[in-house]
Amino acid sequence: MQNLIEARNLKKYFATQKAVDDISLNIAKGSIFGLLGPNGAGKTTLLRMITGIFYPDEGDILFNGKKFDPAADISRIGYMPEERGLYKKMKIGDQALYLARLKGLSRAEAMIRIKEWFVKFEMQSWWGKKVEDLSKGMSQKLQFVTTVLHNPDLIILDEPFSGLDPVNANLIKDEIFRLSREGSTIIFSTHRMEQVEEICDHIVLMNRGKKILDGTVKNIRQDYKEDLFRIEFDNPVLPEHTAIHLFHVVSKAEKELIIKRNEGFTTNDILQYFINKGLGVHSFNEILPTLNDIFIRLVETAPRARQFETVAQ
């Protein structure tokens, strides 16, 4: 699969922090890409370089196989920053029209698309209202519409669900899936892990300006598995059943065990053992770590709060 974005050794140093410190990543065309990291990891700085707001100190970005040229490629990108912003005193319709025209749509074209989206999101009655009249969730929806209005190849969403109720969050989520199916590439930046597992194909985890994880959600969970298994039995488990060198018990309930397999043995060895003991195995499942577990494990090994440092430029 071809990559829409290829970043090579990106660096951006500020006076007191190495915000982005030598990051390379590929984002496949049409994929939903998750950019994760704790607060202050450098996500926003990285996104600002991809949207052309910042120039990298070092390294370069390829957009669609060619060197990224902000002036030309910017209209192919839709960016919804974490800090939402709209003109408070401007009418909703005018505002959407203005932002769409800045992205290069003609007035007539923009008008047609805005109307489509407003119908879809049931926002028709908002047209003449001002942003200051909207609730937080409403302005969030408006912000999403203005981000995707010009059918961008690359949609960057920084925490798109914050402040949305479940109904509206699902509405936006469905749109994200639809846009992805229609060929848009989506970068999704968040620290809500359950959403990432649900939505993203590929993730990169950043911490302190560096990339510490890169892969598909499935592969990463496999890579970080700890040989844990949950076994459910038909009959109660007795202590003598667990005195064996194949595994050790992590936790135990009446008819359930969570075990950690010892090195050098296979799952078949364990199943064989219980069958020989005459215990009926009801189910046997591997426990894969959630992204949340992996995230916490990786980030916790580093000092929690980012410290200021002097950066030699």
Binding site: I53, A71, I74, E83, L86, Y87, K88, L99, R101, L102
Partner: protein, 443 residues
């Protein structure tokens, strides 16, 4: 349309369509007229009549101290002293002991006399002493009176300036002063109004966090310039409306002037002489004359061109700096105050130079201040009505204009650099030193 065009359109339309714009366009001239009439009215009122009792024993001043029925009346009634002058209806009592020692003179009153009244009394005393001495040396009272009649009329000095083409032109210093002061003060006020508008607009975009959305669609520089140019358009629209308003009013005024008065006036103009007694409507004739002097006494084409040039140049020069400030401040308006000081100081200072250069348009201070772009928009507009090229040689005008253009290119470049960093920085207020650092760093 280009992106900057779309931004200009938005900045312009949102402001011009605003009710406050329409209101301020029509209210401001009204407020100014009220202000002028109000200050004249209060100045007239404050000239109240002062009755002064004079205690001057041998009556040395009795013959030569002249009262003015509208301001100060001297009264030589007997039996008035410092205890009873109030009850006898006097505002003050003037003690003039005999002798040449002028420092012994004394004015006692309950309330302090105004500067004007005191000046009048002092002038009259000097005059009276002078007249007394002349009479003592044998000048007849009648001779003295006839001299006084002539010397009391003030001289009207016509300053005939010889132009390069040999044609003599009557320089109207009063008119030049008025036009210079008017356009200087107008540039001064609008620079503040529209500069602050730019600063508020930029700060608002930063506060709303929309700046980040916009700069992901266009260059920060385009956003900044779009705002500056859009607001310049608002300013020009306002001037245009004022000119139209003024033109309409003066045209309408002519309909209210009787036809034969107009004919009479044209007659007078053609013959270049007053028709004594013939004018039954002297007031209107005077207004018409004033209007003709106003229209013909000044090179309006040049002045309007220069005014627009210096308004735009000065505005662009300072608006960029105001935009830079807007981009670095946060929620606290106090921060803006502190950062604005280095920008408002030169503007206020140029206004002070303007007032002195109107008195003396060729002083070195006036010449230099009208060339340096920090003050040239205001000071040069004060000098131009005195005549180009007599008072302001062509080279000065050209150097001044070129340096203003160079000046705003530099401030815009600097502001652009500061702006692109400041607009996305939250939390800490930047200092001018930090801003200078941003300007010289690669993006």
């Amino acid at each position: 349309m280009s992106k900057i065009g779309i931004i200009i359109e938005r900045e312009y339309l949102t402001r011009v369509k605003n009710k406050t714009f329409i209101l301020s366009t029509f209210m401001l001239p009204l407020v100014m007229i009220l202000f002028i009439f109000g200050s004249v009215f209060f100045a007239m009122r404050s000239r109240e009549k002062q009755r002064v009792a004079v205690v001057n024993d041998p009556g040395f001043f009795r013959n030569n101290l002249k009262s003015d029925s509208s301001s100060v009346i001297f009264d030589f009634t007997e039996g008035v002293d410092s205890l009873n002058y109030r009850s006898k209806g006097y505002n003050g009592i003037l003690y003039l002991p005999e002798g040449d020692n002028k420092t012994n003179y004394e004015l006692r009153s309950d309330k302090q006399f105004g500067l004007e009244a005191r000046g009048y009394i002092e002038r009259q005393l000097n005059k009276a002493i002078e007249n007394n001495m002349l009479q003592e040396r044998g000048i007849q009272k009648s001779t003295l009176d006839s001299i006084t009649r002539v010397s009391d009329k003030s001289v009207q000095l016509d300053n005939i300036v010889k132009e390069k083409n040999g044609k003599a032109r009557e320089a109207n210093a009063g008119l030049a002063y008025g036009v210079g002061f008017g356009s200087g003060i107008l540039i001064y006020i609008t620079m503040f109004i529209f500069g602050a508008m730019v600063m508020r607009g930029v700060a608002e975009e930063k506060m709303n966090r929309i700046a980040e959305v916009i700069v992901s669609s266009c260059k920060p520089f385009e956003l900044m310039m779009g705002k500056i140019i859009g607001i310049a358009g608002v300013g020009l629209t306002q001037f245009m409306l004022w000119i139209i308003l003024l033109f309409t009013i003066t045209t309408l005024m002519q309909f209210f002037i009787p036809h034969d008065t107009l004919v009479q006036f044209q007659e007078i103009q053609r013959n270049q002489q007053q028709i004594p007694g013939g004018a039954n409507n002297t007031m209107i004739l005077k207004i018409l004359e004033a209007k003709t002097t106003l229209v013909e006494g000044v090179n309006w084409g040049l002045i309007i061109f220069c005014f627009l040039f210096y308004f735009l140049g000065g505005y662009l020069f300072y608006a960029a700096l105001f935009a830079a400030i807007g981009s670095v401040i946060n929620e606290d308006p106090q921060e803006a105050q502190a950062l604005m000081l280095p920008i408002t100081m030169p503007i206020i200072f140029s206004f002070i130079i303007l007032t002195s250069s109107l008195q003396n348009p060729n002083s070195p201070v006036a010449v230099w201040a009208s060339i340096i772009p920090f003050s040239s928009p205001i000071v040069m507009m004060g000098r131009i009505p005195f005549g180009v090229p007599d008072t302001v040689p062509y080279w000065q005008l050209i150097v001044s204009m070129l340096s203003l253009v160079a000046g705003f290119l530099i401030t815009t470049w600097f502001a652009g650099k500061v702006y692109r960093t400041g607009i996305l920085m939250y939390g800490k207020k930047a200092t001018w030193k930090e801003m200078a650092k941003w300007a010289f760093r690669k993006a």
